[in-house]
């Protein structure tokens, strides 16, 4: 019986391997944050063009590793690669969508958007220097808010993530003690607090612990109606975490002055710019071994730039301003096939 079983399985595998054409003709892997919108775009793209693009979230680090190892047609990362790093690996990158990080908290008696924080204060809280909610430093920014006499429980991401990278980069730029201490990375040596797995984990710990503070992606905070903080931006204005304010941060950014699109959108000028904003990036080889695959990848993102904005907005992502898209399309001219000719257009 076992023998027939094995034979049947082997036969199935052979038939499956040889007989049926591959359903997905290009594949990409990397960052978790943009995965839902890439999946959405891929779904519509397949419906319209019958070209399948399979994107899988394995993490930004994984995205870089896999594109360098050439096991996928494109990689994706929340953490832009520096120009020299790109050149060393024969890669180039371009941004696709923008997201923001939102500080969330659990303060009995205090409503969402009532507490105002600066980057400096936020860093002191995450350093464990400010230990109570009614600390005079917090109180000085929040006149009239009934801050409770509760110890602050700090919650951070336990998994390495682009969200943590943006958040710690922001703290680094705002607070010299943070810069000298934990610094900026997708995982750091957190001085205090506990780590939750993913947005879910952070949110659950925040909900279960009165007096806690954490940070999550904007889409998560919005879908789960979490209590957020108001932040002070570079212009000195108090801003709310909204899609419009993320877009304001992206609009003010000087993309054309950023070689290889290496740009963090943190603390951008502009009256309504949300200070903890960042773009997510696609990585492709500058010299494609398979011109068709390279062409397919760029065609997909061209299609997404043209047709994908509404779908992205529905999932609470912020799309790039048109001039930035034009800049990206121009950069694609340097992606060439084995024959040295551009694979796109």
């Amino acid at each position: 019986m076992l023998k027939t079983f094995v034979a049947a399985i082997t036969a199935t595998a052979v038939v499956a391997g040889g007989g049926v054409a591959a359903a997905a003709n290009i594949s990409g892997a990397g960052a978790t944050f943009p995965a839902p919108v890439y999946a959405k775009w891929a779904e519509s793209y397949k419906a319209q063009t019958n070209n399948a693009l399979n994107y899988q979230a394995i993490g930004s680090g994984g995205g870089k590793k896999q594109i360098i190892a050439n096991t996928v047609d494109f990689g994706a990362s929340d953490k832009p690669m520096k120009p020299d790093e790109l050149a060393a690996n024969g890669l180039q990158q371009f941004p696709t969508v923008i997201g923001g990080v939102v500080p969330v908290m659990n303060l009995p008696g205090v409503k969402a958007g009532q507490v105002r924080l600066t980057g400096d204060v936020l860093a002191d809280i995450y350093l464990g220097l400010i230990k109570k909610w009614n600390d005079p430093v917090i109180a000085s920014w929040n006149k009239g808010v009934p801050l409770p006499n509760l110890p602050i429980t700090v919650v951070h991401r336990s998994d390495g993530s682009g969200t943590s990278f943006l958040f710690t980069s922001y703290l680094t730029s705002e607070n010299p003690k943070w810069a000298a201490g934990p610094g900026a990375n997708d995982a750091v040596n957190w001085p205090v607090g506990l780590g939750g797995k993913g947005n879910d984990g952070v949110a659950a710990f925040v909900k279960q612990t009165p007096g806690s503070i954490g940070y999550v992606e904007y889409a998560y905070a919005k879908q789960n109606a979490m209590d957020y903080a108001v932040m002070r931006n570079k212009a000195g204005k108090w801003v709310l975490p909204t899609a419009a304010n993320f877009a304001a941060a992206a609009a003010g950014a000087k993309w054309n002055a950023a070689p290889g699109f290496y740009l963090l959108l943190l603390d951008q000028p502009g009256a309504s710019a949300w200070p903890i904003t960042g773009a997510t990036f696609i990585l492709v080889h500058s010299k494609q071994t398979n011109a068709q695959a390279g062409h397919d990848v760029l065609s997909f993102f061209d299609w997404a730039y043209k047709n994908g904005d509404a779908a992205a907005a529905a999932l609470d992502y912020v799309t790039l301003p048109e001039p930035v898209k034009a800049l990206v399309r121009k950069s694609w001219k340097t992606v060439v096939g084995p024959d040295g000719k551009p694979v796109y257009k």
Partner: protein, 319 residues
């Protein structure tokens, strides 16, 4: 246990006997395949982990600073190592008596019509994906544990006593003890199902003669059936311990994930496997190497634990 046949009787076809050495070779090849697989894993880990191990030396296992920031990368894994040992030991301590109890109940006490449904139900526990345990732990178990166990215990602990230290931490349902309990629930079905299977193999005569001598159920189990399956029982425990040591997803959700030493039962900590699961996806360069080296350390721990178990078993056999 080897069986030798000197002369083949005529009745049987020579072909049947000719296959004997081939069959033995087949079995041997399968065993060697396992060996090669593990060897391959260890070699791959050693190569991958070498940069971190050579850079930090003994400090990799004794240091307690885990700082993945590329500007000051320091990897000392003492926190996760201690966390792994504590949670696995605690989970085993909690799960083993329960697994034993369940197995004895099913084999010796349970009314026959209930035997199969309960046995299947316990096996079903093993089939629930570990991410479900993690999410159940986080959303259902943690709030309950915080409100009904942690908070009362912390309030009841006399100030300045050893209890206060033991019960320190943030009472929100996460931490070392909570993770150990979830682990215990996860490894329970493995051990219970294997133990039950072992107890079922005890020949009826053996048990019946013990009962016939007037032994009580407890005595039959403790003095007759349990010693009979002792060797296999150790295997069952190893199955459970193995899963506890290597479990990632469920632990990650609920242990609190801080790389220092846990100060109390409710404090957050981390395990080797949870650290790998947390950081591997985003890691590159030295951090990635440090995580692979961490995997190697886990293998070493398993080696030591298993070797100790063997040693204990051997000593017991001599007595």
């Amino acid at each position: 246990m080897s069986i030798t046949v000197n002369a083949a009787p005529r009745r049987t076809t020579p072909r049947g006997f000719a296959f004997d050495p081939i069959f033995e070779i087949l079995c041997f090849t399968a065993a060697t395949t396992l060996l090669v697989a593990l060897g391959g894993v260890i070699v791959a880990l050693a190569i991958g982990g070498w940069p971190a191990l050579s850079k930090f030396g003994i400090g990799f296992v004794t240091g307690s600073t885990w700082d993945p920031n590329p500007d000051h990368e320091i990897y000392g894994a003492a926190g996760p190592i201690v966390g792994t040992l504590i949670t696995s030991a605690a989970a085993l301590l909690m799960a083993l008596p329960v697994a034993g109890g369940v197995a004895f109940f099913l084999v010796e006490l349970c009314p026959t019509p209930l035997r199969r449904p309960i046995g299947t139900a316990v096996e079903l526990l093993a089939g629930i994906p570990s991410i479900v345990y993690g999410m159940w732990g986080l959303f259902v178990f943690a709030p309950f544990f915080a409100a009904h166990v942690e908070t009362p215990l912390m309030a009841a602990a006399p100030t300045g006593s050893v209890w206060e230290t033991l019960f320190s931490g943030i009472p929100n349902g996460s931490g070392i003890l909570a993770a150990s309990i979830i682990l215990a629930v996860m490894i329970l079905p493995f051990m219970a199902a294997t133990l039950r299977e072992l107890l079922n193999t005890v020949p009826a005569q053996v048990r019946e003669s013990a009962y016939g001598l007037g032994a009580t159920t407890a005595e039959v189990v403790m003095s007759v059936t349990l010693p009979y399956v002792r060797r296999g029982a150790i295997g069952a425990v190893m199955l459970g311990l193995g899963r506890a040591l290597g479990e990632t997803m469920a632990v990650t959700f609920i242990i609190g994930n801080s790389h220092g030493f846990p100060k109390g039962l409710f404090d957050s900590g981390s395990t080797i496997a949870s650290t790998i699961a947390n950081e591997f996806n985003e890691a590159s360069g030295l951090q990635s190497s440090a995580l692979i080296a961490l995997g190697l350390v886990l293998f070493l721990i398993t080696f030591v634990v298993l070797a100790l178990a063997r040693l204990m078993l051997r000593n017991q056999a001599k007595v």
